[in-house]
């Protein structure tokens, strides 16, 4: 009976359809199942007016309006997905710089949120360096904004800029090679001041703050000292 390869032997043998055994050979269950099956072997009911219109083609299965609505809906979903992907990528600065700027500008204008612009050297998410245990300076050390002052103690700002020990990045200058999102060193004067400081002390050892500034181009040269 069944079009399917029936795993239930009882069902398939008892409801065998045209190949079923003669009624005399059947038990009650098989007869009942055949009767049950016969319920689905009657004439189809007369179609209602609405159904007849569908069957006769008077009512198209797809109206133009419905098809258009579907196209618009699908297009909207795709567009929303693309915009969402762009915003997520921009939030992670995963876009090329021009695209990053465009997306961040649009987001800035249209929403209360700020996205990184991806400008080189401009810190976008300032980090607050934590003083290392080895740093015995009082609070407001190299990582703080006040840390730019130690440059006064170390090699003076101007003469030593770019000529300090290890050529560390000077305070306030964008560091080469640093990505915009890595907001450590410059504005806070962390590494710059720190290096100045260290240079002043002549220790040459980077403090914890100095290490946090390591990824900058200038500090790369100090790697050898480590």
């Amino acid at each position: 009976m069944s079009r399917h390869s029936d795993e239930d032997e009882e069902m398939s043998t008892q409801v065998a359809g045209p190949n079923a055994p003669a009624p005399d050979d059947q038990d009650d269950v098989a007869r009942f199942l055949l009767e049950l099956r016969a319920l689905g072997e009657v004439d189809p009911p007369t179609p209602s007016r609405e159904l007849a219109a569908l069957l006769g083609g008077a009512t198209p299965l797809f109206s133009q309006r419905r098809a258009m609505r579907r196209i618009v809906l699908r297009s909207g979903i795709v567009a929303a997905a693309i915009v969402a992907a762009l915003i997520v990528a921009a939030a992670h600065q995963g876009l090329p710089q021009p695209a990053q700027r465009v997306v961040s500008n649009v987001v800035d204008v249209l929403t209360p949120f700020d996205l990184p612009r991806g400008d080189v050297g401009v810190p976008l998410t300032p980090t607050t360096p934590t003083p290392s245990p080895s740093d015995d300076r009082p609070a407001g050390g190299p990582g703080s904004g006040e840390s730019s002052e130690p440059g006064d103690d170390g090699p003076s700002d101007e003469p030593s800029r770019g000529a300090g020990p290890d050529d560390g990045p000077s305070a306030g200058e964008p560091s080469e090679g640093s990505s915009g999102s890595w907001g450590g060193p410059d504005n806070n004067g962390g590494p710059g001041g720190g290096w100045g400081d260290d240079g002043g002390s002549g220790s040459g050892e980077p403090s914890g703050d100095g290490y946090s500034g390591a990824p900058t181009g200038g500090s790369n040269e100090s790697g050898g000292d480590w």
Partner: protein
Amino acid sequence: MPRAELTDAVVAAAAAGDTDALGAIYAALAPAVLGYLRARSIDDAEGVTNDVFVKLLPQIPNVRGGADGVRKLTFTIARARMIDHLRALGRGAPTIAYEPDADRRSVPSAEDDAHAALSLARVRAVLDLLPDDQRDVLLLRVVADLSLEQVAQIIGRSTGAVKQLQRRGMVALRAALEERRVTL
């Protein structure tokens, strides 16, 4: 009336808007839908069958799986309409398990009904002795001619669970029939 075969080609033609193919789908599936609804004691089975196809036909172009997909979708809609209909009437089919000892009904003789055709009333009487889920599985397997997997998808159970329900339904059915406790 023998069942009309539903083929993938017919479904494809219907999806393209061929009215003859739409009619063929109706001719192939409407009797089974009607039988399924009648077995579930739906009063206006013809009207609900019409509703099922009014809902089904516009979805034909989107159906995947060819004839099997259309058959599955048809009975998914039919089952949903049946449940809605029963809820609207506020009288769902009984869901209690069959207890032979508590059943006082009997028939005079086994010989009397040995060769008699089972009427719709008797079919319903027997089915009403089964729990709702077992009854549903048997109807979808036998009347709708669906596979275990298709039934599982329609009722939202695993294939193993459907197989188990079918087996239990057959055992309960046999118990009800062999003990001759169902009146004609």
